[in-house]
Symmetry: C2
Subunit: 449 residues, 2 copies
């Protein structure tokens, strides 16, 4: 009998799981259910659609549902909301096209993703208050913001910064409220984030740091944002205080929820319930460096978790997911900001004794024109010289490549000496003869090299 595999959720993890299950099994009976209208969608692209760089929200996907289903022989259901997961009789109930249908499964993959956190605050339900979730909802955000002149973005994480830029580029006044002391507060150190503060201000963003929003006021539509420091007249609010795993169905299935609030899975992406897997933003995983449980909702690990769950759903325990480092890159107006592993603040919090020293170098040889400054900070364990993480900021996109290099060094437990002696590329128009990453390691060598 062919295995019946059901995947709930058609985002990065769900679509990857379905595709990989098919690749590993020609005869499995594979069904994918997605509550929205799109699958293989790319929520990371929403700020660029809102900002007008990407013309059409329908571009924010890799495949149409029918194309994906046909090419891979997968039964794809969109606009299909799973209302019940039954792990005893191994079936799910799905609301679709006005009726409720039941489907049986032998293996179930929960890939329901994450949803925006909405603060428990007065006024979040007013018209003109938006959260950024899936491309389906993007046109509404875009239209809503078009009529606004004064926009508040609440939260200075990746999505908050990207939305800030998108809205600011359309010429509106933008106030960015961050409750903590600096933008990207959980992923970057304050000194590195400080470079981005200058860039935000230089581009006309009104930056309100250490200023939590207390409430949003208005009769029907948003009119004002209130903080301890003031009352700001506002036409629209983008809430970007973070996301949380969408665990409702997993809880209903009886899956254990981990310490991070996401679904606990092992390296095979198995939940605590037999034959039930979880993958992507709904699942927690392991930090490769600290070996602790981690929940880092980003697209590339979601895709890979999906692959692992999909393969294992039709061929149990055939692939393992090793974990994450939180490698990420974003753009803030002219600057690319990239990070991986543990930054100073995180490493200290984890109890490491660390050493770090921010440096400035260039993106070309000294004598070559057009070079941009590259800011780098590597964080190493003091006694061993082991690399724990890195942060980079530059107007040169090359930092996206260099952060990958640093992530590889962290993955392979590289020490300062390994980095210094690694054979990296050089040409006068791509780097100084002393490579930026090598220079960043070198300044931590106490003059050895």
């Amino acid at each position: 009998m062919a295995i019946k595999a059901i995947i709930i959720g058609g985002g990065a993890a769900g679509a990857s799981a379905a595709a990989r299950a098919r690749r590993w099994s020609q005869d499995a009976d594979i069904r994918l259910f997605e509550a929205g209208s799109m699958i293989t969608h790319a929520p990371c692209g929403i700020p660029y659609y809102v900002g007008g760089v990407v013309g059409d929200a329908s571009m924010l996907k890799t495949y149409s549902p029918s194309e994906f289903g046909k090419r891979r022989n997968i039964d794809v259901h969109v606009n299909a909301r799973v209302t019940k997961v039954d792990v005893i009789d191994k079936e799910i109930r799905v609301l679709e096209g006005g009726s409720e249908n039941t489907y049986e499964w032998d293996r179930l993959i929960i890939a329901t993703g994450a949803k925006p956190s909405v603060p428990r605050m007065e006024g979040v339900g007013l018209k003109g208050v938006y959260t950024v979730r899936i491309p389906d909802g993007a046109p509404e955000i875009k239209m809503g913001l078009e009529g606004a002149s004064n926009v508040a973005v609440v939260g200075g994480g990746y999505i908050g910064l990207e939305m800030t830029e998108a809205v600011r580029r359309s010429g509106k006044r933008v106030l960015l409220f961050e409750a903590l002391e600096h933008v990207l507060p959980t992923t970057f150190d304050d000194d590195v984030a400080g470079i981005l503060h200058e860039e935000l201000r230089a581009n006309g963003v009104e930056l309100h740091l250490s200023e939590p929003v207390l409430r949003i006021e208005g009769r029907d539509r948003v009119e004002r944002v209130i903080t301890e420091k003031g009352s700001y007249p506002i036409d629209a609010v983008v809430l970007a205080i973070g996301v949380k795993p969408d665990v409702d169905l997993a809880i209903e299935a009886g899956a254990r929820i981990g310490e991070t609030g996401a679904v606990h899975v092992n390296e095979y992406m198995e939940t605590s319930v037999p034959d039930v897997y979880a993958a992507g933003d709904v699942a927690e995983t392991r930090n490769m460096l600290t070996d602790k449980r981690a929940w880092i909702p980003l697209a590339p690990p979601a895709n890979k978790m999906g692959q692992v769950a999909g393969a294992n759903s039709v061929s149990p325990r055939s692939l393992k997911f090793p974990g994450v480092l939180g490698t990420a890159v974003t753009k803030v107006f002219g600057y690319y900001a990239a990070r991986t592993g543990l930054v100073d603040s995180q490493a200290l919090h984890e109890g490491y004794t660390i050493e770090s020293r921010p440096i400035k170098t260039r993106s070309t040889a000294e004598y070559y024109p057009e070079g941009e400054t590259i800011h780098i900070k590597l964080t190493v364990e003091k006694d061993t010289g082991r690399l724990l993480g890195g942060q980079m900021v530059s107007r040169d996109k090359i930092v996206a490549g260099y952060i990958d290099l640093i992530a590889a060094f962290v993955t392979f437990n590289a020490r300062i000496d390994d980095i210094f002696f690694s054979d990296l590329s050089y040409s006068p128009l791509t780097s100084p003869v002393w490579h930026p990453v090598i220079t960043a390691a070198r300044v931590l060598s106490h003059g050895r090299f």
Copy 2:
């Protein structure tokens, strides 16, 4: 008694050696002798000076001799040619300022670099025939080429290609002669080099592949280049058929010459003669991957070999140089071309059973505009999936960062699975959600992921 350390050669390796010897020993007596007028010079920049991107040849250095000497307390002698190395009495003879002087040493570092290979061919001594060596000679090349209308570049290696572009950009007719079947014949595979052939032709370069130059003809100045296929009227010739280690002084010192023709050294950069070190382009080293002797004359390893020799000259056997992978990047008109480790042709030559599959991917998410094509080919060992090397070509400079990532993977013996599951960065404007390097590994997984 303070150690007397003498360094012969003020290029990348020599200057690095002197600086590091000083850093490791405050009281050593350190002398540096350079035959030319500049030290810490950057021959890699010569094509950009000739092409007008870098305004002044004197910019092609990091420090002036006096500045370098003063800052580091090193006795720097420029325009000082070492005429004799005596390893019995431990002294050298130096021709400088019209007189010959003798200096004693306890430790000697030979960092005499490489010099252009000049083919044994009729006409190489004619006026208008140039080789690219050190910045001292660059103004002569530039002036000589300025008067020419039809220029032949002989040799399609890194320097040949960079000089081709420099000359072509100034509007001259350029004929590029490569004796082998494709440009970069010893470092890239034919299929990858083929992309560069199109770019060269699209930029008006007359590409003559598999066409060795037989002789250069002319009365006093060059007038014609003769091959088996024809006779080409030419005003100037740039010879760029390669470089060879400048081993004359090392041979005089009695140092063993290795199988590559460069000075044999161990991991401490010690030659076969006690207290005599060699570093940089004059020395051979080890290929980190094959563990065989290798001679790869590039600036970054030269700098590091210099550091190792310098430290060890005042503090014996304190640092080791692990070897090279031949990581390199160059630009050919609009394309960046980068490589590391063993490409297919090299791996096959070394006896590996390999697998490789060139792919095309993008430098941004599908939906994000302005993405460029990235061509990648990874070469892996068939049975183990171990990464042996990689090649990339793109109009996006990011490949310089990605080749460093691939070099790190090779260094740490990564297999396809390690690459696939590495946590690399993503944003829609810096890469597709499936990272180019991961996609290149994935196509070699036989559908596992």
